[in-house]
Amino acid sequence: MNAPPSSPPSATSDPANRPRSPADLFISFTLLALQGFGGVLAVVQRDIVDRKRWLTQEEFIEDWAVAQIMPGPNVVNLSLMIGGRHFGIAGALAALAGLLTVPLILVIGLAVLHARFADSAAVAGALHGMAAVCAGLIGAAGLRLASALKKSPMPLSWCLAIGAAGFILVAFLKCPLPWVLFGLGGLNCVLTWRRLAS
């Protein structure tokens, strides 16, 4: 399947900024990774979308859906997509290397030191404190993105209902992720597809 050659580029949704070079991508993703305790995704939303403005809220959501549905860690997939869009394979690899290199060295260093600090109540407490902040961070990222639902072709109330159903399925009923993605997500995609036709 190919796009019709006449299809216009969606210039209206272009974000304000873009990364300057693969080196810029590498450094930005290294700094992002170092702020992400217990996951980097919400930091990406905050830094790349809210602060740097390399992506709009809508683009972030769309990319994230792709990153989630493809195999591989979703933040890794997201970094590949952002890097690849601006600088091709070099950009994708720069973003990926930025995300992984320094944190990899750090986490191995931590494993080596683990025996020494594992018993410290202060260290364990500090980790719990940071985990609580991260939980708030991820929740806030979800709330911020909800504003993008207004641009969906489906009614806002319908989108919120689907979102609430997804939350209940995953958080309380412990539904396996593929069921939610392909079941509930697939259903909503089909409905959106039909709505886009009219």
Binding site: R51, D63, M70, L96, G163, A165, F167
Partner: protein, 202 residues
């Protein structure tokens, strides 16, 4: 604590390890953590390359450290190599497991994302992206819920009850509100959480 393992890993074992992580990569929809139960079966139960403690510790440390959670895979490789007796083997373990878990998914995602971006005006691509948006938001909120719950459970109080761990929940909600409403740098909030936690206040 179970007895430490002393392994002799042959070339065939390294290849087996590599092949298994290549396969895991293709199955890791939703992140590498979703295949961790299969890794447990392979590394701990089937081959006895990793102890239960090392398995748990790999996941907990990667969660606690900055960076993507997929680094727990590197720690498993590290421990397998250490069980084989040397730092060089441990570094090989990191290399084998990380290259294995990253390569197939990276190639697949990169190709699919390029296709999707080039064809972003197709009706099916638009429907997919906009139809998935509510699910994306639901998954983020679920992750926040799980993190707050597990941080509460493993802290001083043994139960996940909201009431027993109310300072932790309060800290999560307050930091969420601050992040939602302001543009303050995250490191300030993380530092504040670390200080409050280290002093036993949350």
């Amino acid at each position: 604590m179970t007895a430490p393992l002393h392994l002799v890993l042959e070339w065939a074992d390294w290849l087996n390890l590599f092949g298994h992580f290549l396969l895991m990569s293709l199955m890791s929809v939703g992140g590498a953590i979703s295949t961790s139960s299969e890794m447990h079966r392979f590394l701990v139960e089937q081959h006895h390359w990793l102890t239960q403690e090392q398995f748990n510790q790999s996941i907990a440390l990667a969660q606690a450290a900055p960076g993507p959670n997929v680094l727990f895979v590197a720690l498993m490789g590290w421990h397998v190599g250490m069980n084989a007796g040397s730092t060089a083997a441990a570094l090989s373990g990191v290399l084998v497991t990380m290259v294995g878990i990253m390569t197939p998914s990276t190639i697949l995602t990169y190709t699919a994302a390029r296709w999707g971006h080039r064809n972003r005006d197709l009706r099916a691509v638009r429907a997919f992206r906009q139809g998935m948006a509510p699910i994306v938001i639901a998954l983020l909120l679920s992750t926040a819920w799980f993190m707050a719950t597990s941080a509460g459970t493993s802290a001083r109080a043994p139960s996940a009850a909201v009431l027993a761990n109310w300072p932790l929940w309060l800290a999560a909600i307050v930091s969420g509100l601050i992040i939602w409403r302001t543009r303050i740098h995250l490191l300030w909030l993380l530092a504040a959480g670390a200080v409050l936690g280290a002093r036993g206040l949350i």
